[in-house]
Symmetry: C2
Amino acid sequence: MASSIHDLARHLNISIGTVSRALNGRADVNADTRQRVLDAAAKLNYSPNQSGRSLRRGSTHSIAFMLQPHPGDQQYGEPFFIPFLTGLQAKLAESGLDLIVVMGAPGDYQQERLRRVVETRRADAVVLAWTRREDERIDYLTSVGFPFATLGRSRSGGKSYPSLDLDFEKAGADAVDRLVARGHRRIAAIRPSLDLNFGYLFLAGYRKALRRHGIEVDPELIASGFINEAGGYEVTPGVMNSKDPPTAIIFNNDAMALGGCKALVEMGIKPGHDIAVIVIVDTPLCRYFSPALTGFRPPLEPMGRRLAEMLLASIPAYAGEEGPRTIREVWPLELIARDSD
Amino acid sequence: MASSIHDLARHLNISIGTVSRALNGRADVNADTRQRVLDAAAKLNYSPNQSGRSLRRGSTHSIAFMLQPHPGDQQYGEPFFIPFLTGLQAKLAESGLDLIVVMGAPGDYQQERLRRVVETRRADAVVLAWTRREDERIDYLTSVGFPFATLGRSRSGGKSYPSLDLDFEKAGADAVDRLVARGHRRIAAIRPSLDLNFGYLFLAGYRKALRRHGIEVDPELIASGFINEAGGYEVTPGVMNSKDPPTAIIFNNDAMALGGCKALVEMGIKPGHDIAVIVIVDTPLCRYFSPALTGFRPPLEPMGRRLAEMLLASIPAYAGEEGPRTIREVWPLELIARDSD
DNA sequence: CGTTTTTCCGTAAACGTTTACGACAACATA
DNA sequence: TATGTTGTCGTAAACGTTTACGGAAAAACG
């Protein structure tokens, strides 16, 4: 079934060295023999054994992505990641690289699994998501000198790695601007409870914009919960029951918004009618919800492709001998106005 | 950084053969030296190089999962898969196996990528999802004798591989039973347009139950669309505009239901009030939707674990020398009554 | 004490690649 | 002709494991 380089050599009556050189496009092989090798490879359905190749080369030709379930809810996951992975994989495949997805073990926030990937050299580099403000994974990877890139920023690890992020700060501010322009002054913010960096950035933009408009930031209008439906559902009533309730709520993502809207409805408050709602990271869910939720849709698939490019360019083994390269990018987030605000 | 078996041997002044045997728990090594090897391995932070190991062993110690984005919608993916993958990965990790996730290329339904995984021997086995009624992937894998397991049934490939599925047929029937018991006789079914097998099974149960109740199956009440929000949104109006409109709709999954409900609201029809709604494969979305949608929640994480077990047991290299084993399982789907019907 | 068995360990080959090195022929140059 | 250059290819080592084989020492047995 699996034909090796030896089979090709025997079949063509030449040495395995020549076969390998022909296959790898090296210069010191006759054009004629190269063609014969290529033909034979196609005929015998040859494809190189990855283990042998990576053992010899010292690189695995694959990139790992650390995927995690929702913190606080093992039951369901984040559809967010799938289109991102699609882009990532597509770009990596163009360079003949494979994508390994490693699930994080709940609890230790992936440290253990990350070590395993690094130490067994299962991948040449790793991509991290849901970066935290202080991220021990980043500290670890930089300390051992393992190549990586992140979806999202962090304060850890200096500026020595490629990262791609969305401008959540601006999105938070834009959301506030829009609501203020529509007459709101009591604006709540509901964000994830963990120190996920995008929640932090969102809140920073929210605060800044409020102050810019001369509106005092009221801690009673800021709540945090798990970044899923349950989180939004549990936390929203508290905000609504404050002394001076909000007339608008900004949710950090679609799942929290869904749960929050459920809570609102149960309180007899109609989202989009009695109260304005904006979502920072939306999905098709927002568009098809009733009322359709105003939000910011991230271009996930292009982000995946771009981060793959950036990562590859940062790895000497894959990149050409180019000079310094862009190492961090922050993409704008564009508001899509719908019916909920 | 990365210490090899040679480092251990040199450090302990013994041969690499002994080190390997000690590490692999073979019998012919002194208990004392074994302990010394283990200690040294821990101290030198040794972990075996996967490439070397799999080259020698002829197995990669990793399993591939083919992940695909929504057909007809590249933009977002199926949260369905994440908890399933969590379970799969958890179980595989217990046996020291890694999980490789390979994204399917849109268009050729994964044939090309699947070939690549098989031919380069990147994995020892592969897990398929979203099985079709006739599935060329299954035919291919059986024809080349590559081990695999499927989430979902298919008519392809005989009975020679492990598969785990949910009883969509019974769920479809249960949904009909419940609606009929509540007085409905005009019941619509909205399912995916592709020949995804779970859509087929669902419809079979739906039909069977209707006939059992002496209700004629009306083709006008059956519609198919892309298995996402857009699909449900586009297809639902057609069903509602039939000569004798339904008083209840069964959606095949949560995304289609969301889109369908949007369409209903736009037509001035209130889901859960003017019309009953049931979802076959629900997610937390259903619970937090307003009205909360009655549906069947699949135990995805346990399913992932179980399928990993079944797959491992079917691979001679991993399994002990056990006899014949359960090769196909169909799990029941339990209805969770909520507010929409 | 001689023989057989057991226990433990070292040697070396093998897995499928890649690549440094050298060999040989053909050809060009002086 | 002698020398150098170029083009092409084979040889063999190396990557880090695992494992069949054999051997030496120790233990068991007569």
